[in-house]
Amino acid sequence: MNARTRPLAALCWSALALSASTACGPTAGSPGGCSEVTCAGCCAEDGTCVAQTSATACGAAGAACVACQEGETCEAGACVAAQAQCPAPSSAAPSARSDFALAFDPVGRQLVVFGGDPGVAVSCMPDPKFEGETWFYDVDCGVWTRSAEPGPSARARLAGAFDTRRRRFLVFGGRYRAQSSGAYTNYNEVWALTFGANGSKAHAWDPLVTSGEPPPAMSSTVAVYDEADDQLIVFGGNASTSGLSYAPNANVWALSLSDNVWTELVPKGTKPPAREFHAAVIDPKRHALVVFGGGDANAFTGPFLSDTWSFSLDTHEWTKLATTGPVPRGRIRGALAVDPERDRVLLFGGHDDGQIGERNDLWSLDFASGTWTRLREGDVFNTAGAGFCDFPSDFVTPDPDSPERREAHGLVTVPGRGIFLFGGRSDCGNLNDVWLLDPETATWRNQKPTFSGLSCQRSGKSGCTTLCF
């Protein structure tokens, strides 16, 4: 028998537990004479027995009732730390998707996901679609909940960050089109998903009214929250509305969140090449924006960028990092997350311009030295395809301890837990799995499986003859 909770078994145990508590006898109210002989619960000050103990009157075997402290509950007559009240297990989850915005709400202890692209390629040709849903993933209970609140219109290839000072999720940019061809609508508006006070799960979306000159409407950009200066930083992106060309830039904008004013941060010295599909984080110790990879105007075919840059948010100077030593292969649509305890940033996945395409390798960039180290190789290229969109089942030798190869996924740091991975696009569709990385050991643990998007070899299917289907 497996270790999962079984409903009938649970019912049985509940019944037993109920019987046991009933057998103990609710004798509250018997005046005086409260003792271990007469009272299975605790004795109140007036000498009555409190059989149904609670956080306000806790104890057992006729002991004097005590009031538990805040954050404690009364379990079997003893005050213990309250456990998270987890909802019932459910297979509910966001649809498999890529190109969404993801952040961590440290007060609510939940991942926040908005938007994305659930479209699955047909015969290796992309078929973009757009989501406007907001989902929350409880990192302690491992349960997804969909927001019922109205929010921004559907969009993908947007950027998001969490404003920890105001407990709100900010999203910027993105693209949408109603038809399957033609021009996209790009966005440069900022929306805020603000949560209630005191850890409340209540939330509401509102557009942020800004002033100053905003960035152009664009997709495939990055947005990070600079807590030290209380600003949202945006760098690069694709302003093209065509699905057939790219218009990348290399500009940095700051949205001051104290007054909602946009300012372009004019850099000193050499700027990095213009790009989209890159990844970025804040290096909190050096108060800098760190950027890796992406694509330029040739982002359809590459070569993709493998450079790493740091932009000082104090001096507005760019510095190229990782000029010596190994570097991750150039890629688009990879993801970064800070590992603050080890003063570094981790890179997972993305799409390269080599034989393997989608990747699931794991790298770390030491902030202090600016050098990259490969932590996990991931899947290894094995057998080439026979032609366009004709890949064999042994296209790669899978690393079973790494998540499926992917791009346009989300990676976010959860202090005290590790780094969470959600979703993305694989060779075989879109994913909606959740993984947790222990950054110290570079060990992945699956938290939620994906129902789609896995290559045949990883899907549990027998007799695979092709990579996908």
Binding site: N2, R6, L11, C12, P89, S123, F391, F451, L467, F469
Partner: protein
Amino acid sequence: MRSMRLPILSLFVAAMTVPLACGTGRGMPVDGDGGPSDGAADGGLARPVEIGTGAEAFEPLSDGQTLPIIAGPQGGFHLWAAARVREPIDPENLSLRFRVLLDGGTQSDNTWKLSLVQNGDAWEWFALTEVLSNPDAVRGKEVEFRLDVTDTAGRTASDARRIIPVGP
């Protein structure tokens, strides 16, 4: 024909004994004799296995229902297949064999081994790609869509529906 559903249950009595001793027996099959049954009709008891469809959630199937043929990312064609199981079927490392049968011939035959995900009092999996080697052979025709499960203890159960693949 009222039903071609075939939840053929080959359930071990020993495995049923413990949960039945606990109480209601909800979720248990009503017959363990290996004959056809319809749990939903026989007193409203939930079936231990149910075939379904769906890319984003388990969706029940009805006899006579049309089911879209989906074009896959690598040029193949498939139906979305889904499974839901209840006790006494053990959802860990469960073997799920889906088949599409037409006039006694097998049009598709795909097997997975998976640990299903709990959803309420059942365990389920969806978005399985029942690949059709020749979609033209079944398009627009009523076929039997069949699921056979075998758990690690050797318990087996089956379910089937008459469906009509359509498009693309």
